[in-house]
Symmetry: C2
Subunit: 217 residues, 2 copies
């Protein structure tokens, strides 16, 4: 038996709660049983990244965390903004590195040329800006500013309402632009509500990790 | 136990050789053991599709073949030109349908913005024209006009030489533009030769079938 393909996953949210910490890795291992995911989070950033400034502060910490993995076949920065992905590639050129944003956008492009981008910030994550600057329809759910707001019935209703609005504006597919939306598993509800394919960033990260595994096999 | 996710796969090459017929389905089931692939080929087209005219002739036969599947969860047209994919979507709106072209292009976009397109025709398949018209660097290996030419040492050398040329022209990733190139398993050799990621259309089709399976689960 070959050993499993080992993925080092970086959470950009500091947490001591083991369940929160492991949630993305656990989802990916459920989707792709061939993968073994080891998770670490960056230090001293309990609010995660929800502004460009917080992204800047996080990047050196993300690179340091990437370097601290030993014996992994791949690294995922589990955030839709792909913070530090380019920087890690420079310091660890021999290992595949990806993030939640570029993987979500790539999968979304299979499903349509006009892409509804549904996140919790007023700016689009960098891969969305780079890969689909003119194909993007950007929205933020009313009243939702953090993943905590998504846990309430009002927050969830607001996300579904925005999904319908993006569809009315011409979106052929919805790309979630925050891994927090993956954590709460809203993709399925959004698909039901809108009838559009919805791309979940944590599933997207996992897809490309599995793709790297197949290509290396 | 749930039953497996059943994929109806259409070969656009008529063949009575069971091994040739099943080769794409077999590859996909090896990559993704959760999928069950049932293969059919279109009638009376022993040369497959290697010109726009042959594509036109094939489309009604492909749609008819798609309609003949019973009890499948998804349909794949296993050809980099995605012939009939749009037409099948119209007549079978309740089932996911995809092809080798759009899936290969979507995966390639994760790896770079300048995409080397390596096929065996002088024209690019339609998804490549639609999705990456300005990001494409097109090439055809010298002396190679059909998949048969690829089986010779000269043919293979010619493919590897073209891979290097596409890299020199700025390609950051190579998207194979013919499933015949997947059949002969050249992606791995091309990756070794060029150092670039190479996207194999049969693997790409399988990736998106697995993605549909995960989304439905």
């Amino acid at each position: 038996m070959n050993r499993k393909f080992k993925v080092g996953l970086i959470r950009v949210l500091t947490t001591e709660d083991e369940e929160v910490l492991q949630s993305h890795g656990k989802q990916i291992m459920e989707y792709f049983p061939e993968l073994e995911v080891v998770t670490k989070c960056i230090p001293d950033q309990y609010e995660g990244i929800h502004s460009p400034e917080l992204g800047e502060i996080a990047i050196p910490k993300i690179v340091e965390t990437a370097r601290s993995f030993t014996d992994v076949d791949m690294i995922i920065v589990s955030c839709a903004d792909d913070p530090g992905v380019a920087e890690i590639r420079k310091v660890l050129p021999d290992i595949p590195v990806t993030g939640g944003g570029e993987t979500t956008v790539a999968l979304a492009l299979k499903y349509g040329s006009r892409i509804g981008v549904l996140g919790i910030t007023d700016y689009a994550p960098q891969a969305y800006m780079r890969m689909i600057p003119e194909q993007m329809i950007l929205g933020r759910p009313e009243g939702v500013h953090s993943t905590l707001d998504l846990m309430t019935p009002e927050g969830k209703a607001s996300v579904l309402k925005l999904g319908m609005k993006l569809k009315e504006q011409g979106a052929e597919v919805i790309a979630l632009a925050c891994t927090g939306l993956a954590t709460i598993g809203i993709a399925k509800d959004l698909e039901k509500e809108t009838g559009l394919p919805v791309i979940d960033p944590v599933m997207a990260e996992g897809m490309f990790a599995y793709f790297e595994y197949l290509r290396k096999k």
